[in-house]
Symmetry: C2
């Protein structure tokens, strides 16, 4: 940190006015300035409270249409500057508060008329934030310990169909998966608590299966139960999970929000599997919103243990390099004293086919890989799907080609769609 008592954020800014002027307007709007000079904005106050433009670096200047709608001087093409901008704020006026940090680094600035594009790409926080916030309680080591997976990825799946199964049907699917040796199972983000599949009954039915299997085998599959809901509901559900012997909970970050998430972190005795559904509306236009590098830092410091990063060759819209950058970031320390490392969770259209490219891209085996259809739809059933995915990862980590490993394994051949 260059400024130990200042908050810094990086942006990609697009503007049709001089970038220096746009940056000053943004810094003013997000600190002591207003649209017109007001009497109280003295030099002393500005020295205390003003946001500072730390750096401004031109990426590109071009004539074209602005990326975002706005009140512009003309309707057509204009000269647009695309710049990398870093702003900083004094801790003394922002306070050591993650919720209020959001209003400062990601508040009204996206709407300013001089902004034709704005994306927050990184955040750096003073040490006071790391002293105050807890970060992950379990992280990588805690997740490995609870799941009994000492090395290699946690091989996992998502219960599918996402919704519509009863607690009994869910438990029946889980039974097949744990018999097949799966490490990790999660609810779909659409499945929390409903008439068709009430949370409490799902927990009872599923944990009976998992506990019985653990008693037999000595290894307990980690099931991330989606307890997303109101705060009281999340408290009861958490306590239900603890008393039933569950080892993980899942929550949808954009559904509950940051303050409730911090509260959940404060009472949770289980690892928090953080689901990012809704991420698309925060990120999918390159000239707007959030990069995952910036966004995941908030949730890691707030206490997430597992963070979703999409997957290589996913069925969504993110490219592979964005996915890998997100996953690497989860494994990059946020500070020396509190690294806040979390398990990246690969999902979306995952199968044995992505093991090699994921491992070679990430250069780490600290991850959770969840294949929904990739496991559940295996021609020989979910247990064969689990085995095939594990074999694919063993081959990738040993530097063996999938086709070579598949010669020894019918399950892997079937999973890879390779005809004998």
């Amino acid at each position: 940190m260059r400024h130990s008592n200042r908050i810094e954020a990086d942006y990609i800014l697009e503007t049709h006015i001089a970038p220096e002027k746009a940056a000053q307007i943004i810094a003013g709007e997000q600190s002591s300035g207003t649209f017109v000079a007001v009497p109280g904005e003295t030099p002393e106050l500005k020295a205390l409270a003003a946001a500072e433009v730390v750096s401004l670096e031109t990426i590109d200047t071009y004539t074209g249409r602005p990326a975002l709608e706005g009140r512009y001087p003309t309707d057509g093409a204009m000269l647009i500057h695309r710049v990398k901008m870093t702003l900083s704020w004094p801790l003394a006026t922002v306070g050591t508060s993650l919720p209020n940090l959001l209003a400062t680094v990601a508040g009204n600035l996206f709407e300013l008329a001089c902004v034709s594009g704005l994306r927050i790409t990184d955040i750096r926080l003073p040490v006071a934030f790391f002293d105050k916030y807890k970060g992950p309680a379990f992280g990588i080591a805690g997740t490995r310990e609870l799941s009994g997976v000492a090395t290699g990825p946690l091989v996992g799946t998502i219960i599918k169909p996402s919704v519509g199964l009863t607690p009994e049907q869910t438990a029946s699917a889980v039974s097949e998966l744990v018999t097949g040796g799966i490490d990790f199972i999660k609810d779909d983000e659409l499945q929390s608590d409903s008439d068709v599949c009430p949370f409490d009954q799902r927990v009872e039915q599923v944990m009976r299966v998992i506990n019985e299997s653990a008693d037999r085998t000595g290894r307990k599959a980690m099931y991330a139960f989606n307890l997303t809901g109101e705060l009281d509901e999340m408290r009861w559900r958490h306590d239900k999970l603890v008393s039933a012997g569950a080892t993980c909970l899942m929550v949808s970050l954009n559904s509950v929000g940051l303050a409730a998430f911090l509260e959940l972190r404060s009472f949770s005795q289980l690892p928090i599997h953080a689901h990012r559904n809704g991420w698309g509306y925060l990120t999918r236009h390159r000239s707007l919103g959030w990069s995952y590098v910036a966004w995941q830092k908030i949730w890691r410091l707030a206490g997430a243990d597992h963070m979703h990063v999409n997957g290589i060759d996913n069925k969504f819209s993110e490219d592979n390099e964005t996915v890998l950058q997100a996953a690497r970031e989860c494994l990059t320390p946020m500070s020396e004293d509190k690294p806040c490392l979390v398990m990246p969770v690969f999902s979306s259209g995952q199968s044995v086919l992505q093991a090699d490219s994921t491992y070679s891209g990430l250069k780490s085996d600290d991850l959770i890989v969840t294949a929904g259809g990739g496991i559940m739809a295996h021609p020989k059933g979910p247990a064969a799907g689990v085995q095939a995915l594990r074999e694919a990862w063993q081959a990738a980590m040993a530097g063996e080609a999938l086709s070579s490993a598949a010669e020894r394994s019918e399950n892997l051949r079937l999973a890879a769609g390779i005809r004998a």
Copy 2:
């Protein structure tokens, strides 16, 4: 409601594949489907759990570049369909839960590869949601009663500079404003609790001024204190406000999130002034994210009393029709039994100049208008600024031109920048 037991949402979808197919993929992803067929997705389960494509209506078909980045078959222009799509979900699998509703109607769908643009434009909820959730505790009538403003807009301002003033300096500004007869004052969203302006001391200093003025005049200006923070902090701050005699609290919705907001609603004894900072990243690209019509329904049902809508001729990027549509929506009943009407809050570059167009566009005087610089920077001081803004609204409501009213008032002339 066509379906009393189904949740409905409207979208504008852009896709490069057949719209019918894209809609089915989205409905599948957001309910019982997955990328590949899985054994458990039986016809019975689908009948119970599947999302339904209620309607699909072509808006436009054109050849062009997709609005959002993605994994497309070609790099250049392609045939794109822009359609209005309505989906519905059964309550039995979603549950009566606002947080889980978000994951369902606004979860992973924005990221799907067949989606080159997706914006949620409206939501309709079954009666069970209105039975469960409380809606605004104060709304329009409660706000008018507490502020003593029986008719016309609440004339208000935002403390500026946004940050940097001490509690004493804040109270001094408030003193001038309440002497000038202001109805409503709010903290800036950047100002919550910090070393320079601690929350508790700000409340004590400001409420001393407001209470003394109320004792003298019989009318208490409403001050919305920004208590945004963690849940415990918000509880303490709320209790501090109640004991100090405050009549409003403010919270940044995107900073705290929905579950903490619902908790705040459950214990708050004061009207909740809901600030939408960060709204830009949710809405500013026309082919992505949220329309305010959809978004504000969530927060109104959750219990907001005042919702920000930007302002006519604002200094941000929204056009006037979007602003007026948002404000009208706040005054449109959500259901017969629980209309959830809230005060729309006009702000951003507001002054006497927008009174007429705001009133004629909204056709209601149920609103809060906040002018920051527009009041604080009045040449004769904030009290003159308050008086001028009130006069401008009286003229607008009486159908009198601003220039005509300004002939009788020097304060109004000065505020309008009219030379004598």
